[in-house]
Assembly symmetry: C2
Homo-oligomer: 294 residues x 2
């Protein structure tokens, strides 16, 4: 690529996802200049040491000034405050995007704050690991995964196209959908699994000390996989749970009903019912393998 | 090893675990002769094709006749019937063992049936994958994992020692504990995770068709890991759920209480409570990594 996709990119928040995007932008020559913004000096020092950005600052307004693209990669609860701080310094025609897991809340918190002529393109690259911080990032994290864009009905087509091309350059398959629909799909594919993993690991944490040490020892029987998911960033997941409350509560309710039915089948020794459930669930696994998402 | 550990080993049931053990016995020269027993001719044909045994038979009594070690690797619900069928043909001094995930039920179903002079050594190699059948097995499956033996209070020390050495030869770390305690530990480390994974995948299975296809598409957000666990053998898990009913119901109850508390915290927007839970769970993950079980 001879001409960068964006002359100046400001990354507000530079943890696992933000720093992975920085690496993609660098490697692909997609940004003329990268400005990284984080609250903590230690994070900025790491970014400088890893040469992930051309400039670093703790001030979102300074980072956003003159940027052609501003990407928020912070926990969702920081969006409104960041929006307020960057709004006055955004240049006309700038694109504002994010990587958050709840899109209706992202739009609700950001859209009203942006000046006319600035284009909001909410994005969610569905990729990650259980690790946090700029040192955990890697450019290949996005490869072959989906990126969901939830453009506003009256959104700018050219801006949508540029954000699409950026994530495609990261190796992602890009789709667009309505923000509310995104939040419902993610509630079941991501938010519910995380909340359940956190809960089961919490249940184990409350066990008597002797039993707990054995749980750690014999975790290979299935528990281990849950602890990996439950090692994800706590603040990020607090914000996701609250920002997507309605959809998350709906899915938790469905899950709880199904778990109660399972519990009842075990109590009353209903083997056929159990076997039927345990057989049905294989179908979805096969579909995921066929969809090459396994 | 110049002298095999057992002159003749009968493997009753030769799926994922049984066939992996067959491979270990072969590669280590641990058995003078291996006899494999399965109900279905197709399974026996596969065993013959893969050269996993010296002889195959659909008759447990024939397999057990003259064997020095008989290992049950079938679903738990078959134990009592197999016990009845092999009892008359077991030779004095023979060792009977198994690989089941619930030890109190295994002892309850087998111990009363075995003739005097035959030694029961219940075993549980805590290793596996989500795949089933003799083609899925591999000798390395047991490496560095734990094998839990739950010997009877009046059990034969020499037999315990030989079974211990067999699993050590498979690369396992062997511990002994009380059967009831085993069942409680496994209820949380293995049975609860599997039941929860089956349930969440079941919840997704019941979604409207359009939403379901998107769940498959975007499963990389966490859901995917649950579908892997929920692809395990349905009959095996039906039997485990019922055989370990008391411990499983106790753990399901604790989990449900914790999930209800989480649901309530989300509903009432109690961010501090959520962040606290999501932070606490990281400790167990660190312990698992330190214990080299990650």
């Amino acid at each position: 690529m001879t001409q960068p996709l964006f002359d100046r990119v400001a990354l507000i928040g530079i943890g696992l996802v933000g720093s992975s995007l920085a690496r993609v932008l660098r490697q692909g020559g997609l940004a003329g200049e990268i400005v990284a913004c984080a609250r903590r000096q230690a994070t900025l020092d790491t970014v400088t040491r890893l040469a992930l950005a051309d400039r670093v600052t703790a001030d979102p307004a300074e980072a956003a000034a003159g940027a052609d693209l501003v990407v928020l990669s912070t926990p969702l609860s920081a969006y409104a405050e960041i929006g307020r701080r960057i709004a006055p310094s955004l240049k006309p025609g700038a694109v504002v995007s994010d990587v958050g897991s709840v899109k209706a809340a992202a739009i609700r918190d950001l859209a009203p704050l942006l000046p006319p002529g600035v284009h909001l393109v909410p994005a969610h690259p569905v990729a990650g690991t259980e690790h946090s911080g700029p040192e955990s990032g890697f450019a290949e994290m996005f490869a072959d995964r989906w990126c969901i864009l939830t453009p506003l009905p009256n959104g700018d087509a050219a801006s949508l196209d540029r954000v699409t091309r950026m994530w495609q350059s990261a190796g992602m398959k890009v789709v667009t959908m309505d923000a509310e629909h995104h939040d419902m799909v993610l509630a079941i594919t991501s938010h519910l699994p995380h909340l359940i993993a956190y809960t089961i690991v919490g249940t184990a944490t409350d066990l008597e000390e002797t039993l707990k040490s054995e749980v750690i020892k014999f975790s290979a029987g299935g528990f281990r996989d849950f602890t990996r998911i439950a090692a994800s960033d706590p603040v990020m997941w607090r914000d996701i749970s609250l920002a997507n409350r309605e959809a998350v509560l709906e899915m938790l309710q469905r899950f709880t009903e199904d778990l109660t039915a399972l519990q009842r089948a075990i109590r009353w020794g209903e083997g056929d019912k159990l076997q039927d459930l345990f057989t049905r669930t294989r179908t979805i696994r096969r579909s995921i393998i066929e969809a090459k998402q396994a």
